[in-house]
Amino acid sequence: MTTEIVNTIAKQIAEKILKQPSRVIGADEPLISSGLIDSFSLVDLALFVEDTFGVRIEDSELNAATFDSLSQLAELIRSRQS
């Protein structure tokens, strides 16, 4: 389940945000603190999560302290789905 979430978001980030479809994003790779997802794209990520998983990520949560990797984000999503 978590793997599925990770894969779905990884695909979205590589294709839509980075525009490098072949880019592999590791489940524990830093996303925000590394600048891989820049501040202009954080809102895209939040909107995608909301549309795809029916879970809201508040704008004040869009920072590395709340989640900085796909696995952490997937965990956050799962905890809100249940």
């Binding site: 600048g35 809102v43 895209d44 909107l47 590395a64």
Partner: protein, 557 residues
Amino acid sequence: MTTFSERLQSHLHQTPERVAVTLQFANLPDLPISYSQLLRGAQGFSASLKKEGIASGEVVLLILRHGEELIYSYFGVIIHGAIPSVMSFLTEKLSPERYRADLSTLISVTRPAAIVTYGEFVDEVREALKGGDSVRAVIVAESVPAEKVNISSWSGLKRKPEDIALLQHSSGTTGLQKGVALSHQAVFNQLDVYSKVLGLNEKDVIVSWLPLYHDMGLIAGFLLPILYGIPLVLMSPFDWVRAPYRLMQSVSKYKGTLSWLPNFAYNFCAQKIRDRHLEGVDLSTWRAVINCSEPVRWESHLAFQEKFQAYGLPENALHSSYAMAENVFAVTQSTLGSKPRVEVIEREAFMMERVVRDANDKASVTVMSSGHALPNVQIKIVDEKGNELPERVIGEIALKSDCMLTGYYNRPDATEKAFVDGWYVTGDYGFISGGEIFVSGRKKDMIIVGGKNVYPQDLEVLSYEVPGVHAGRSVAFGLFDEEQGTEEVVIIAEADSDVEAENQKIAELIRQHVTKNSAIALRHVKVVGPKWILKTSSGKTARSANKEKYLQELGRG
């Protein structure tokens, strides 16, 4: 003529309890600050600068985030008679080593006498200091208490209109070495005229999310309202970029009338705000949303209008301005009350002949005017030799005004280079049509990403630090991205081989390194084999020629 301190004193006497600024924070109640509260906060900082022996006319660097401390310290420096300069705070993604190096660069050129920052950041700042440099005090912002206002202590009241009031820097190694120094007189000459052009009145409320280390934020979104008694609603750029709808909610809540935005923000707001965040929002008071600090796009205005007219955005609210820190701020402004003029011109003539002709039925490009020159600004379009060109011929924009910079601070060499026969040559290309200024491109190599100035040479130097890339063998340039309404940076670097897999790895390292060490997030990197990059006869990298080559390879030339 007046000075900042005199103007603040008069607000304190006339309207001490009036709200000067309302600060907004995510998840916290709004914080209204009256003129008297603002100046009590400022008095505390002035006292602490005095205690540290900081003299009138010395530079004080402010390294603070959005918040009360930034505002109090800014005006504390002013009433103390010193010169404030705001440096952006370390962001989540920026490498602390790079930040320190940038800070050292700024200190070595600007020679500030003191730095104001947070307690948690003092060690970081001290790391950047060297024995024998100019910094005599590091003041911890949150430990400075407000004090009872004591106007007789204000050394700022002894400043003369021609004295330097403030410095303004853009980012990166190159930008930090060129602090624009502006006098009190220049700022008031600009703002007196600009406020008339805008028809500023007692019903106006300015709403801004722009950072104070940028001219648009500092002048239009901070000093103009506070010095001219127009209520300001100010939020953090970091909160806005994560929740762009906050701008609309604030305009609605405070009946905002004026805002300034870089072009990308029109696209950003039009694309990324959900209707559920706009429930009950009323934008009918918003009489001017002014597009400046990067090339203005008619398509961006259309997208913004279409998205927000359902929420009451007036028909003629979207405007344009051509602005730069060297002229304090605005050089031109589109006429309020009507839409900025748009011309549909012949693409071929525009690109190849550098002249402007109506397209009629030929392939066309739509260009939007930035309006008329301000009444105190003279503009001419010049050719390579400095000869003035007629209307509808593209050349470099040169200007003259009574609100120009005093100089680049401690950089007489750079100041001298910027002027030719008393005219400031902007490095921007444009043309005049029907008396209005259209900005069409850039002679200088600077890239503007989301309103932020980025110097390609800084990015190229960063790429040389990546193993596998040799000095002098990469090139950076900007490419306009239609969807985002701003430029994206492209870096091309030569590697020793043509092995694709190896070069992919180098590309990824360049992306990571440049992103960690600059203000931008780098996406487009192409690593090529030897001898790809075009050089001029003198061995310099020709950025525009390499951009052409890149576009041709993409089939977009």
